[in-house]
């Protein structure tokens, strides 16, 4: 997840951006493991009008005994791998060149909150873009009364859905402290909310639960964030990180809108999308099942390098 380099280019680039993205995820097993099956979702997506994957590859070390590619329900590229032999480490590498399109923030076409249910009801679809998948509780995001109360307090009566989204995004950014030590990958949104601490995954989960409690369809975006080093310092290799932010539905004409509560900004050309889901579980970079008798360590290194 995102680290201390959270200083983002605030100026919105007027031009499309070209990036080379490198990701390396390393697992070290205390006791060598034999076998194991993993699903990997790390390759940036191609989304018309948003970004284009020019070239990309996902490789593994050791070489898996079996490998297959597929596209999941939410249209995320998924690589499935199976190991048969004993190994002590697993290295997953992803390399991609991506063009991020410059999207202008359009006028707010979203309805006031009370106007959303009829628009939702008029949407007779359950395809991948349907907001209906993002209304109810999802496996990692049960309803949470405290977060619902928080959301109700923020949402003013005359605000549009988009304004509500922005207001919640801003409040979370203000009320929460970024703290990589406070939470883990399994922390529930209710816990993170009580702590008022966490990382991008926690910020994103809390915001999704808040929006859903108001009846606003909201989902999880996993991806990469381009970061800048602190002033006067060199860019460190591998210092960037995988990131997460929120996508929510602003009605039939308003469409989907992406906001990043960790940085309190709309997702722009610095945000490169890997996948969409209802929560982290749908787009976790690596889901693995293996028999192991010891613990394991994980390291992640990301570089998002603008191509001049």
């Amino acid at each position: 997840m995102a680290n201390e380099y959270r200083i983002v280019i605030q100026r919105r680039a007027a031009l499309p951006m070209l990036y080379d993205i490198n990701l390396r995820i390393t697992y070290g097993y205390e006791v060598p493991v034999s076998g194991g099956r993993h699903l990997v979702r790390v390759l940036p997506a191609s989304i018309p009008g948003r970004q284009r994957l020019i070239a990309g590859s996902v490789t593994f070390q050791p070489t898996p005994g079996e490998r297959s590619e597929s596209v999941d329900f939410f249209a995320n590229a998924t690589t499935s791998i199976l190991f048969r032999s004993v190994h002590e480490n697993l290295v997953i590498r992803m390399q991609a060149r991506v063009q991020a399109e410059a999207t202008e923030l359009t006028a707010d076409l979203s309805p006031p909150l009370a106007g959303l249910p009829p628009q939702l009801a008029s949407c007779w679809a359950i395809d991948v873009e349907s907001p209906h998948h993002f209304i109810g509780p999802s496996p990692l995001l049960p309803e949470a009364a405290e977060i619902a109360a928080y959301a109700r307090e923020i949402a003013g009566e005359n605000m549009t859905v988009r304004q509500i989204g922005s207001a919640i995004c801003e409040r979370i950014h203000r009320d929460f402290v970024y703290d990589a030590e406070a939470t883990t990958v399994t922390t529930t949104p209710a816990e993170a909310f009580r702590l008022k601490r966490g990382v991008c995954q926690d910020f994103t989960h809390v915001m999704i639960v808040a929006l859903r409690s108001l009846g606003i369809p909201a989902g999880y975006v996993s991806g990469f964030l381009r970061t800048l080093p602190p002033p006067g310092k060199e860019r460190l290799e591998g210092a960037d990180a995988m990131h997460a932010w929120v996508r929510f539905w602003c009605g039939t004409t308003g469409g989907w809108m992406e906001l990043d509560p960790t940085n309190n900004i709309p997702a722009g050309t610095d945000h490169i999308v890997v996948g969409h889901g209802r929560d982290y579980g749908d787009v976790a970079p690596v889901i693995g099942v293996l028999k192991s008798y010891g613990s394991h360590t994980t390291e992640q290194a990301v570089d998002v390098i603008p191509v001049e």
């Binding site: 099956r37 993993h38 699903l39 079996e66 297959s68 597929s70 999941d72 329900f73 939410f74 499935s80 199976l82 949407c123 007779w124 679809a125 359950i126 395809d127 349907s130 209906h132 998948h133 209304i135 109810g136 496996p139 579980g281 889901i287 693995g288 099942v289």
Partner: protein, 802 residues
């Protein structure tokens, strides 16, 4: 005498006059035995007359016969709660009788319904036309926890989503049948229906023979053929996939698998290789073609479904996508069970089949729609309100549903609010009064509410309805008490014809029998058998040492005596404390044996299982009461006898095939280890006084020693007898000899004409020990032998149990 007279008087009274013996239907409620005019329905007359001829004693005997059958067959279900205990099957002995002609109408309605369910599920995971065309609200799919997204767009290998369904139906006051709920996820109860049938016919054997009751076997036979036909390759295996021993209906999974001749597997038994589902067996990976799934879909694959599942098979969904395996019913088809779907059945039936429902669903309104919500709010008095995505009928959902009529005025306002805010998550259902059927309660027939579970199987000729099923019968007047977890009972259902019925059996005709050898043994079963053997033997070893210790303690009453101290320290290294007369670690050991045995219940006689349970219970009781010394010596003797009883049952009754070999190897290996360790500790020259005699006693070889050696016990004679004598069943060499014999007969003992590493190591250990002399045996040799035996166990696990 007085009792008998009273009984005669009762039965006389019953015979005189009233044909229903005082049985009366409840006002405003339909009854199965009596028609609306109060007359006994024709199908019931024979049963009723027969009951009238029996006195209390005869009836009690007959019921006892049925109960004994169930107990002996080991029929149980698991009651959830603090203890998760196994309960004996609660049979209501009076069957429910239904006329064949009426059943034909019910069957026709349910066949139509099964076809409808298939079409709805196929659309949800396929084209999604029902949502697009406005017939099914999108939320019903997208917010439904039973909608499993990874399966969207996956066509089932056999072309159908549903192959086996069940329906809960009930008869309303007007005498018509209603569908109360649909079961498509992993319908349970068909095996229990079979057992109810066998038990009930034990009670009423002559009556059953005279009454033309439709048999159940042909239904199962047809379904077995369906599953056979699903196989894509002739070598594929068919298995019942069970969530395991902790499940409420595990007994049934084991029973059905045995009855139909399929493997009984759990998620852990399976692995997916090259897009194919394989079962791990002691003879290697074998392909699975068809899985009859009794496991909830979301647990089936921790990679793509519920990630917290520990009972699934990673990659199963990928295999489904590859179309290499047929899972019955298809993963995801449970969505149709959710209660809200009942609201849309009439419309969907008209749209998809172009006809009205032949058997109506219980009236249901999904409160996610404005007008339906109003309808529920305005008629709250006659409604039950419950969770829209619940998959259980309202009378069996752990109190999640609320009866509108039970609400006070103030509560009703909050219900209105509840409906307004949470409408999408709620359904209202019309309250129905179910019919009653006679149950035998405190010596008389008493009307009790009932619902029927009916089963439908897809066969070559379309859907077939089981001619029977099982009736769930309430423990009181209240419909809510039908649930078995709430004290309800189950009864057999007899579909009665006025002509003789076809008699089928799943057993092949005698002239054409073949002697089938059991199929490949799943590695997990082999693992459990192996460890059962080890735990049993480990318990025996501990018991023998403890008995010898306490016998000496009783004489000396001084634990600091060198021999007692020495043995205590030996035991404490094995985590066994002599301070507790019956140590906790011994109980844990017996429980481990019980757990291993529980995982392979289908391979055990119920007698063996009962014996093991008895051993565990007795050990627990002793743990709480027994004192050190004589008392403990006596207790150990009793426990040893019970243990021998179990071992004897297994030894006498278990079929000598691969499973038996793993159990035996486990026992021999553990016994060899036990003796090696003990000799290494106690047979040396510095052994305390009395050690050799104690060794002989633990090794049950006192008599033999006296006969074979004309000398007092000495290190060499004891070593000779307990380590190296090939004829002494307690000696180490004897164990290795036996292991060698079993290993030769295991699959893959030879690989390409060469001994497998496991076989080779067994041979090496055996011949190494066979050429030893008593003089050469010392602590170092024993230590190495102990390590070698442990390694042999690991090697076995690597070779066969991985």
């Amino acid at each position: 005498m007085a009792k008998k007279q009273a009984a005669e008087a009762t039965s006389k009274r019953r015979l005189d006059g009233d044909p229903a013996f005082g049985y009366r239907a409840l006002p405003g409620v339909a009854d199965e035995m009596l028609d609306p005019q109060g007359n006994v329905r024709p199908v019931w007359q024979r049963l009723l007359a027969a009951l009238g001829r029996m006195d209390e004693t005869e009836l009690a005997n007959r019921f006892a016969r049925a109960d004994r059958y169930l107990r002996d067959a080991g029929v149980f279900y698991r009651a959830y709660g603090k203890e998760n205990t196994e309960r004996s099957w609660p049979l209501s002995h009076i069957p429910v009788l239904i006329d064949e002609a009426e059943w034909a109408v019910v069957s026709e309605g349910l066949i139509q319904r099964a076809e409808l369910l298939e079409k709805v599920v196929a659309d949800i995971y396929g084209e999604n036309r029902l949502v697009r065309e406005g017939l099914l609200p999108p939320a019903l799919v997208a917010s439904n926890p039973q909608f499993l997204r990874p399966l969207a767009g996956v066509n089932p290998a056999g072309g159908h989503f549903l192959h086996f369904c069940s329906f809960e139906i009930g008869r309303g006051p007007d005498g018509n049948w209603w569908v109360l709920s649909d079961r498509s996820e992993a319908p349970s109860g068909a095996g229990f229906a079979l057992e109810n049938r066998v038990a009930t016919t034990r009670a009423f054997s002559n009556l059953y023979a005279e009454t033309h009751v439709h048999r159940l076997a042909s239904f199962f036979g047809a379904f077995r053929d369906t599953l056979q036909a699903q196989k894509l390759h002739p070598d594929d295996r068919i298995a019942v996939l069970s969530p395991g021993i902790a499940n409420e209906t595990y007994f049934e999974h084991a029973y059905i698998a045995r009855y139909l001749g399929f493997m009984l597997l759990e998620g852990e038994d399976l692995t997916v290789v090259g897009g194919r589902v394989m079962v791990r067996t002691v003879a290697g990976l074998k392909p699975i073609g068809v899985l009859w799934r009794r496991l909830d879909a979301s647990f089936a694959d921790p990679l793509e479904l519920d990630q917290s599942s520990h009972i699934g098979t990673p990659g199963l969904v990928e295999a489904l996508r590859a179309g290499s395996v047929s899972i019955v019913n298809a993963i995801g088809s449970g969505i149709i069970e959710t209660r809200a779907f009942l609201a849309f059945m009439p419309t969907l039936c008209r749209h998809l089949l172009g006809e009205e429902q032949k058997l109506p669903s219980i009236a249901t309104w999904w409160c996610g729609q404005e007008s339906e919500r109003q309808q529920v709010a305005n008629n709250i008095e006659g409604m039950v309100i419950g969770p829209a995505y619940s998959t259980r009928p309202f009378f069996d959902d752990n109190g999640q549903s609320v009866l509108g009529a039970s609400l006070r005025d103030t509560a009703r306002t909050s219900v209105a609010e509840w409906l307004a805010t949470d409408g999408g998550k709620l359904v209202g259902q019309e309250v129905v009064t179910l019919s009653t059927t006679p149950a035998w309660v405190r010596g008389r027939l008493t009307p009790r509410p009932m619902s029927l579970r009916v089963f439908a199987a897809r066969t070559r000729d379309g859907w077939q309805i089981m001619p029977g099923g099982f009736a769930r019968i309430g423990s009181g007047d209240d419909v809510a008490a039908i649930a078995m977890q709430a004290g309800g009972t189950a009864a057999d259902v007899w579909i009665v014809s006025d002509k003789p019925v076809e008699r089928t059996t799943l057993l092949p005709a005698e002239e054409s029998f073949t002697r089938n050898l059991p199929g490949s043994l799943p590695s997990r079963a082999a693992d459990n058998l192996f460890w059962l053997g080890r735990y049993i033997e480990r318990a025996e070893g501990a018991l023998r040492i403890l008995r010898a210790w306490h016998a000496r303690f009783a004489e000396a009453a001084d634990p600091s005596m060198p021999l007692l101290k020495d043995v205590s320290s030996y035991l404490s290294a094995l985590d066994i404390s002599t301070r507790q007369p019956v140590p906790v670690s011994l109980l844990a050991n017996i429980d481990s044996a019980l757990f291993s045995a529980g995982n392979i219940r289908d391979r055990f006689s119920p007698d063996g299982w009962l014996a093991l349970n008895d051993l565990s219970k007795t050990a627990r009781k002793f743990h709480a009461t027994v004192q050190a010394g004589d008392d403990a010596t006596h207790a150990m003797t009793i426990l040893l006898r019970k243990l021998a009883g179990f071992a004897g049952l297994v030894h006498e009754n278990m079929y000598r095939f691969t499973g038996w070999r793993f159990l035996s190897i486990g026992r021999y290996l553990e016994r060899g280890l036990h003796m090696t360790r003990l000799l290494g500790h106690m047979s040396g020259p510095e052994a305390p006084d009395g050690a050799y005699d104690m060794l002989l006693e633990i090794g049950d070889s006192v008599m033999t020693h006296r006969r074979r050696y004309n000398v007092n016990t000495a290190a060499l004679t004891v070593t000779d007898l307990l380590a190296l004598d090939p004829l002494n069943p307690r000696s180490v060499l004897f164990q290795l000899n036996e292991i060698k014999t079993e290993v030769e007969l295991l699959p893959n003992a030879f690989v390409n004409g060469q001994m497998s590493p496991f076989y080779r190591e067994t041979m090496r250990l055996h011949s190494g020990l066979a050429v030893m002399t008593p003089e050469a045996m010392n602590e170092t040799v024993y230590k190495r032998l102990e390590q070698d035996l442990e390694k042999l166990s690991d090697l076995l696990a690597q070779t066969y149990l991985g």
